[in-house]
Symmetry: C2
Subunit: 149 residues, 2 copies
């Protein structure tokens, strides 16, 4: 027997869907218009910039950015074509590669970051009170934990 959602749950569910789609689109539009990057591109640059030597193994990067390996591979192709990242073979494991952030990539990230933070604040963080935003974070984290198992 199907346990349908009641009408309040329906509304919550649709609000969640809509918030996701609208905010993601808004952030993506800003980032694209201002710096020619997709959100996924931006995430990659951020992760690399936070890593030692500004490099990460392809598989680790895929995992952290929630992308499939295949998708990441195509994405790195595109970023490499614009000289924002570089592929370097791994000396220890000859199957592996590192993606390395170039100086140009780092420079672009430094340019984009303030605008992106502003955009995240405008569409998400500053729309809620600090307590509300924290609550949203806690709920989101709970959902993530559940999915990882």
């Amino acid at each position: 027997m199907t346990r349908w959602l009641n009408s309040e749950q329906q509304l919550s569910w649709r609000a969640w869907l809509a918030a996701n789609a609208l905010i993601t689109d808004a952030l993506q539009r800003d980032l694209q218009a201002q710096h020619g990057l997709t959100l996924a591109d931006y995430e990659i640059l951020v992760r690399l910039s936070e890593s030692p030597e500004r490099m990460m193994r392809m598989s680790d990067l895929a995992e952290q950015t929630l992308a499939s390996r295949s998708r990441l591979s195509h994405q790195i192709d595109r970023l490499a074509k614009h000289d924002l990242v570089l592929r370097v073979p791994c000396p220890n494991d000859k199957r592996g590669y590192f993606a390395v952030l170039t100086d140009a990539g780092f420079a672009l990230l430094e340019q984009a970051a303030p605008d992106h933070v502003e955009s995240v604040r405008k569409h998400l963080v500053d729309v809620l009170s600090p307590a509300e935003f924290e609550a949203l974070g806690r709920l989101s984290d709970k959902l993530v934990q559940a999915l990882d198992s």
Copy 2:
């Protein structure tokens, strides 16, 4: 001067991003594997099924499903190719078209709906307490309201 996010806000922000991506992917995977539909396809079928005569103007449908007109047009092409929807010219406004849910489309939706609800419960609704899920809905709704203005 850029107002960066503090480290707690960073964590909340990343949790929100991750929850979005993971849950959307999980729902999409289930729907695709079980019924060969994307989430966007499903939304279209739902909206049509809830409308009088099971039909809607293309522009209204685009607005409700948060798609661009161009994207909706391509999507309806694909759904029409599988005989799940149908295009019908609007008699009052000769510029306009209706998308109409076919019997086959309705039947597929009836098949898919129970599985999809189960999937939504499993990955989202039932992971949280009723109060938590309601809170998530309220916060999401607040975000949506803000974006609409």
